[in-house]
Amino acid sequence: MRHNRRFSMEQKKARWGWIFVAPSLVFFVVFSFYPIFNAIYMSFFKKNLLSLRPPEFVGWGNYRYLFHSKTFWQSVSNTAIFTMGTFIPLVVFSLMLAVFIISRTKFQKSLQMTLYSPAALSSVVAALIWLLIFDPRGLANQALNILMRTSGVNYHWLSSSSMLRLSTIIVYFWKYVGYFTVVFVAGIGGIPDYLHEAALIDGANSWQDFWHITFPLLKPTTLLVSVMVMLQCLKTFSTQYLFSTSGAPTRPIDVITLSIYNTAIKDHNIGRASAMSVLLFLVMLILTWLQLKIARTEDVTYN
């Protein structure tokens, strides 16, 4: 009898679970799942966006094409360069800044506010500002000329391949370093004080305290930040799009998303664009899964 009642109580709770999830789920089905399945489906077809002919089934044709396409691999490598070039400095610097800010007795908040402020700008505005800064006559050349003690050297911020890649990384880094610093500061603040005190009593210095207490306990924050940064970097679009439509050469910054956009909208090849999306999706899925798995095997808890 008692067992039965408990069972029905569980059932009732389960029903409420569904009720709470249902409203979101409806929107997810219409505005996320359907378009995603549509993209997966289309990746097996050859279809010109303008053509009125029905799509032609090509099986793995689009995927086979991509594996042999130099342009595709070029955009894969562009994305990889951008992601690694942004991901590592962002995580390292925002962690460093957070630790330094926490170690200050004054200006903790104003430092965070200052660093966070670029995140308030929209990417169109950010691109506008940086395009002027990277103009051959702009601030970037002037600043670097002063730093390098040269005069009148054009560092080709928007024209040479490597500088252009660096420029997109700088814009992204600039926009998000403060944001992730704030996340890290919150993470560090969440570590109970008694742990630091215990370390101090054991005679640890600041460095040891950071290395043995703060750093390991920050793992969940670091994990969250790195997954977010990585996914964002892999999905990066607007900076590259706005730069390449404002005179910068496309090839060095032709990241996968930009390539997807151009393949679909400019070349009208929706099948091939969908196949690229599916591949990008799989890569993101695998990388996230890997990160979560690595994190889980070395789980650390406060208690």
């Binding site: 979101s24 995603i36 549509n38 169109v124 403060g178 560090i188 999306s277």
Partner: protein, 287 residues
């Protein structure tokens, strides 16, 4: 932290100075482009491209702001566009917060068949770049007859996987005892949600709200596709329209940029206590 101890010793002092130096350099790097935007917005275009950059012009060029506000065709549509951006961003933020906390709560605190599958499916949508689903999404929205309307701008963004994830992670740490106690007192589930769960999720909701508002304020690609009339345009579209005008100069562009950023700066400074704190986020991150 034993920062006090650090500051007393000589190498400690040196480290201290180095840390301040590092922070100062970081701040200069971050702030310079913003200062550049404001400084250039008060200059005639001729001065902006001077070598070296003058930072302050001989006379303040207020006309830039007037021209930016007036718009390329003198219609003052900027105000309407700002209003549109506010309406869209607010509506999306409010509904996202509600829907995400509902489903986050459902996923965190109720065991039901298929819960993990639902969670995984929702998480997977985080990995889809928007450019990928743009065209099918556009077709769905057009079939519903939503072109050039607020609904068309808002509906596709009402739920976002990150919001669900954030709320779920936060609510996982919510003490079960409190919920059970309320149940024993005879409170209905919706009542528990509105009277216990929501009021106690302040920091997480504030974080989610700011993130959502920000990303909507920034949204360019979707409004570009859905909006047709000038009256329905949002701020990023207003900016790109200005960029496209061949006879608009850099000073006016920077004035547009500064004006477009202002609401975000205001929001950010007034709301900063919610997300810039030493405790706000941490509970959403563990687990």
């Amino acid at each position: 932290m034993n920062a006090t101890e650090l500051r007393t010793s000589l190498p400690g002092k040196l480290v201290n100075i180095l840390i301040w130096l590092f922070l100062a350099v970081a701040c200069v790097f971050v702030v310079t482009p913003l200062l550049f935007m404001f400084s250039a917005s008060f200059m005639p275009a001729i001065d902006i491209m001077k070598l070296p950059y003058p930072w302050v012009s001989d006379h303040i060029h207020w006309q830039n702001y007037w021209n930016a506000l007036r718009g390329p065709d003198g219609s003052f549509i900027f105000l309407r566009n700002t209003l549109n951006s506010l309406i869209v961003a607010l509506a999306v933020t409010v509904t996202t917060v509600i829907l995400s906390s509902l489903s986050g709560y459902g996923l965190a605190k109720f065991r039901f068949k298929g819960r993990n599958a639902v969670f995984m499916l929702i998480m997977a949508t985080m990995m889809i770049p928007f450019e990928t689903i743009m065209i099918p999404l556009y077709m769905v929205t057009m079939k519903m007859g939503l072109q050039d309307s607020y609904a068309g701008l808002i509906l596709p963004f009402l739920t976002n996987a990150f919001g669900v994830f954030l709320m779920r992670q936060f609510l996982l740490t919510f003490p079960d005892e409190v919920l059970d106690a309320a149940r024993i007192d005879g409170a209905s589930e919706p009542r528990i949600f509105t009277h216990i769960v929501l009021p106690n999720s302040g920091p997480a909701i504030a974080t989610l709200a700011i993130l959502t508002f920000r990303s909507q304020w920034d949204n360019l690609l979707w409004p570009l596709l859905v909006v047709q009339s000038d009256e329905m345009k949002t701020i990023p579209l207003y900016i790109t329209r200005f960029m496209a005008e061949t006879h608009s100069d850099e000073g006016i562009m920077m004035a547009v940029a500064a004006m477009a950023s202002l609401p975000m700066f205001i929001l950010f400074f007034t709301m900063s206590k919610y997300f810039i704190s030493t405790e706000g986020l941490h509970s959403t991150i563990k687990g």
